[in-house]
Structure formats: C-alpha cells, structure tokens
C-alpha cells in the first residue's frame, strides 16, 4: 500500500500516468489543465522520458499519433477548446487503431467559453470525438483518488483494445486538492511488435500506421472490425456506481463526476425528510451503463433525473436507457456554474410533488 499524499487533481493525473508507464507526454497550455503539463515537464526528463510542449493541440495529438504508432505509451491532455482541435487527430488515432490516453479537463463552452468547471463536452466525448464511424472509451472520475485509479485503467484499456481512451474530468477535479494513494499496480502492456512502426529491425514486411482505405469494401470491412471491438468494450468495460439503489426509491438521480458528489449530499438531505433517492453514477460515459437502468427501472416511483453541468446532454442517454418505461427529467447549470444542492432538491420535490 502506498501512503496518502495531498495532491492537486491535475498533478495527480501526471503522477498516475508516470506510474502507468507513460513514456511520452505531449502538451499545450490551457486553463484549467495546465498544471498537468507543468508537472510532466518537471518529472519526465528526470526519469529519461519525453515531455514536449507542442506548438498547438493539433501538433500535440499528432505527436501522440507518432509515438503511439511506434509502440510507445503516450498521452496528451487539454481542456474543451483544445479537445475540439484534437478531434481530427483522435479520429485518425481511432482509425489507425492506436492506443493512447487523452485527458479532457472540461471548461465551459461553446467557443472560448469560460475557464470554470463544466460537463458540456459529453456529446463531443461520447458521440462525436471526431469525424467518421468510431467510438472511444470515456472514463469519468468523481474524485482525485478515482481519477488516479482510472488513469492506469485507461492506459490498460487503450492497449488491450488498441483504442484512444479519454479521461474526462471537470475543471473542479483538475483544480482541487484531495488526499490520494497511488496503489502498486503493474501496467498490463501487451507486445506491440506485430503492428508498431518502429523500424524493421530484421522484420521481413513493413508495418504501416494508416487510416486510409480507398476501396469502399475495405473501409467497410475495417469499420465493421472496429464495431466488433466496440461491442467487446461494451460487454467488458462498462463501469458505474449504484448508490442507495437497493431500495424502493421515489426518484433516482443520474449524475457523474463532481455533480454526482453534490447529488449524494442531496440524497442525504432528502432522507431526513423521508424522501428516498438513489443515484446512478456512470463511470464509463462511453460505453454508457445501460445495465444500471435495467436493474433500477422498477425500483423508482418517478423515474430518473439527470443532473449535469450542461444544458442537457447525458439526459439523452438516460432517455434511451429508460426507453419510455418511466419519466426522465433534467436539471442542469451551465457556463461554469455549479448546481447547488438546494436547487437540485427543489427540482426533486417538484418532480415527486405530493408523493411524500
């Protein structure tokens, strides 16, 4: 067991990545994730690894493409506007089936938006990470400890499935400090020699890192292969937390990241008033934990309430999960505003009306 240390979220991500054997970090400054790049610039050269500040987020993700394509564990990070720029590269990485980790410490948008915490990149992360037919695993921690644990998982998932994997935290998680323990874990790193373009070294045929398939038949075949991989990820990698869902609830809240912690406080407050609330906390935003809804759909009197720091993005997945079997409501704040427990509670009472 490692000892507990007090760390800022962004720096903890960096330390976790180093312990997960990340060999290359390509960064670019943007608030509120810059401390991560700064941490890597201090640590990586001292242990013989690569830190490079790129000329843009676009260059940084393409450097990841190069390093990951030559078989080396690599990572980049940014915040919302920078992730928009990286989306081209993410699509190429998905198409070429390269493993890497991308960290998005989300801030308010659209446009330059704000530098305060938000969850308004849910659509971009889970539905539109870039052009074309692909998906990528998106892990959403709710604490710095969980963020540290998930970074190591993210590298392992990326390697196992040869896919980009995103860690999505909001600006709050990046900026706040919490005690964190780095657990001793051995990274699962499969051999990449069969596909990595790292020099022939006596190999008979050359390896090519590529996402171009000019023949439609071949691209369709490739995309179907990607879909089979995504099906395997959906089957094996779904993660979520059920909180107080093993009882008959008046309403079940669905929330992830920082928002889920606020909602837990609401649930405790409501209990004092005799109102039973549950919480589904998706940890993988993609694949979305539909199974959590199958387990709970008959145990909620008034359906689900999606609480987000956005104008309502995850709520569409909640509606898909409910599939018309119960009501689905939404409460959100946007632009860097954080939902207040009292306001969430008011929304809860509005929904359940005179039920209690």
């Amino acid at each position: 067991m490692g000892e507990k240390v007090l760390m800022k979220g962004n720096e903890a991500i960096g330390e976790a990545a180093i312990r997960a054997n990340c060999k290359c970090f390509f960064g670019y400054p943007i608030t509120p994730q810059t401390e991560l790049a700064a941490y890597m610039s201090r640590k990586m050269p001292k242990i013989g690894r690569v830190f490079l500040q790129a000329e843009s987020e676009i260059a940084a993700i393409n450097m990841v493409y190069g390093a990951a394509g030559s078989g080396v564990r690599s990572m980049t990070s940014s915040s919302s506007p920078g992730i928009s720029l990286k989306s081209e590269g993410i699509s190429y990485i998905a198409g070429a089936e390269l493993p890497c980790v991308i960290c998005n410490i989300v801030r308010g948008g659209p446009g330059l938006g704000s530098i305060q915490p938000a969850q308004s990149d849910y659509f971009m992360a889970t539905k539109a990470g870039g052009h074309g037919d692909f998906s990528m695993p998106v892990l959403a921690p709710a604490s710095i400890q969980e963020m540290v644990d998930l970074i190591q998982d993210a590298f392992d998932i990326a390697d196992e499935y040869r896919t980009p994997c995103m860690i999505m935290g909001d600006g709050m998680l990046g900026q706040m400090m919490e005690p964190v323990e780095f657990k001793e874990r051995k990274p699962k790193e499969p051999s990449k020699d069969s596909w990595a373009a790292n020099g022939l070294n006596g190999r008979k045929t050359h390896n090519i890192i590529n996402s171009l398939y000019l023949q439609s038949e071949l691209l369709e075949e490739h995309n179907i292969k990607l879909q089979q991989k995504y099906a395997a990820i959906k089957e094996k990698e779904v993660r979520y937390e059920l909180y107080k869902c093993d009882r008959e609830n008046d309403l079940i809240i669905v929330a992830y990241g920082t928002t889920s912690r606020i909602c837990k406080n609401v649930i405790k407050e409501a209990e004092k008033d005799g109102i039973n609330l549950g919480l589904i906390r998706p940890i993988t935003l993609w694949p979305f934990p539909f199974e959590a809804f199958e387990k709970t759909v008959n145990k909620t009197k008034h359906g689900y309430l999606s609480v987000e720091m956005s104008c309502g993005q995850m709520v569409y997945d909640v509606k898909l999960a409910a599939n018309g079997r119960c009501p689905v409501d939404f409460y959100g704040r946007t632009g860097g505003m954080i939902p207040e427990p009292n306001d969430i509670y008011s929304k809860v009472k509005e929904i359940i009306g005179g039920a209690k």
Partner: protein, 249 residues
C-alpha cells in the same frame, strides 16, 4: 550476367499510382537509393503526407506512417522523440507542407527536430485536381485561379526553403530540381547530405525538390520541364540555403 541497374531495396516492387511523366517516381527512387547507400533501411521510419504522395507508405520498404494533412512533421516528432535511435523522414508536397501544415514544419524546424523532410514543390495541388497552392506562381492558371494567380487577391507564393533557413534549429536546407540528369545527381547528393545530418545529430534538415505536374499543368512532360526552368527556377532559386552541418552538434 552482372546486374547493372535494379530497384533499390528501400523501394518495394509494386506499381505506383503516379501519373505518367510525374517526377515523384524519380524523387522516391533518390530517397530509396540514399537509404540503401547509408545502410539504414532497418532503422528508418517514413511519414507520408496527404496529397499525391499519400500512398507513399505502400512504396517505401521501411516502416511507414500515413499522417493527417500537414501534420507529418508533428507525427515525425512523436516517432523520433520516442525512438531517438531511428532515422525519421517526412515526404510532403507543397499543399500539405506550406499551407495547412505551415505551423508543424516551422516548429519542427525551429525545435531542431532530428528529422529529414523531403519537400516536393510543383506549384499546385495535384491530388485534388490542380487548385492553387501556396507555391503557385503569380499569374499561374489553376482550377481556383482561372484568371491567373492575382497577387492582390491571393497574395504571393511562399519560398519555404528561404523562410526555414532563418531558423536556428535547421541545420541543412537546399533547393534542388529533377529536371535534368545533372540536377537529379545534385538532388541525390543533397538528400544524402540531409539524411547524414540527421545521423550525425545535427538538427533539422529539409530538401525542397522542384517537381513537375504535367497532368494539372496541362503540358507534356517535356514542356513541363521547360516550364519549370522558365518559371519556377527564376522564382525558386536552386542552391544551398543553409548549412551548419560542419558545426559541432
């Protein structure tokens, strides 16, 4: 019987998609001969661009990457930084390198990345059917400059080699042409020197190769070479633009 001429080992024995008369074939061959002569096929990694040479990854025998449009220098940076003992080159056209990829090439050069860029300049976007490139000459007719490039509207062509020569991180930059046999021989010498500079850890090297595009210029190969000599060479002067390879790395 003694073999006097054969395909370089660094080129695969496959048909290419290049148009008749195109000089990509010559330039591919020169790069491949240099890789053979330096004995670095086993440790060379190439990066193909978007444009006419997009499929170069099918032709070179070394390990290859296909990069997004303009991003080859960033991809090459990622490869080289994580594999410093390998030889990494990018092969890029003028649309790829001098328009959408300007930031990537400038910063790879100024960082002094230990990579080599083969920059093929034919004054036009070939793959998409002959539109204006950043290198299109004043007055030159293309699909998107049907009345000739008007510098009042479309500005002036970029002299990439001269621009990059101002950067300290660049150690060897030369502009060559493949329009005549003597120029082909000079081009090969330049390419070899650029790769050698990388092997010696001297910094970033780039060879700009003036090339023809008979298909999109609407000229025969022979007329194209004349057009290159009459129009391109006066604007894009041949020669060594920067050479600091004799200095300590």
């Amino acid at each position: 019987m003694a073999v006097v001429f054969k395909k370089p080992d660094a080129l695969l024995d496959v048909p290419t998609h290049y148009c008749p008369g195109c000089t990509h074939g010559i330039i591919h061959r020169l790069v491949a001969e240099v890789i053979d002569e330096l004995g670095i096929l086993d440790k060379t990694i190439g990066v193909a661009p978007v444009g006419c040479s997009v499929l170069a990854y099918n032709y070179f025998a070394c390990d290859m990457f296909e990069a997004a449009h303009g991003r080859a220098p960033a991809v090459a940076t990622g490869i080289k930084r994580s594999n410093p003992d390998k030889v990494v080159f990018t092969y890029q056209g003028d649309g790829d390198l001098a328009a959408i990829g300007t930031a990537e090439i400038v910063h790879a050069a100024t960082r002094g990345e230990h990579i080599t860029t083969i920059f093929v300049n034919n004054c036009i976007y070939g793959m998409t059917g002959g539109q204006m490139a950043p290198t299109t000459l004043p007055g030159q007719v293309t699909e998107t400059t049907p009345y000739g490039r008007d510098t009042k509207l479309a500005g002036f062509p970029i002299r990439v080699s001269e621009m990059l020569s101002t950067l300290t991180g660049a150690c060897y930059i030369e502009r060559v042409s493949v329009d005549t046999v003597p120029n082909v021989i000079k081009a090969k010498k330049a390419i070899k020197k650029a790769f050698q500079a990388q092997l010696d850890g001297k910094g970033f090297s780039l060879i700009e190769v003036l090339s023809i595009c008979p298909t999109n210029w609407g000229l025969s190969p022979k007329e194209s070479f004349k057009w290159l000599r009459d129009n391109m060479i006066p604007y894009y002067e041949l020669g060594v633009k920067k050479d600091t390879t004799d200095k300590e790395a």
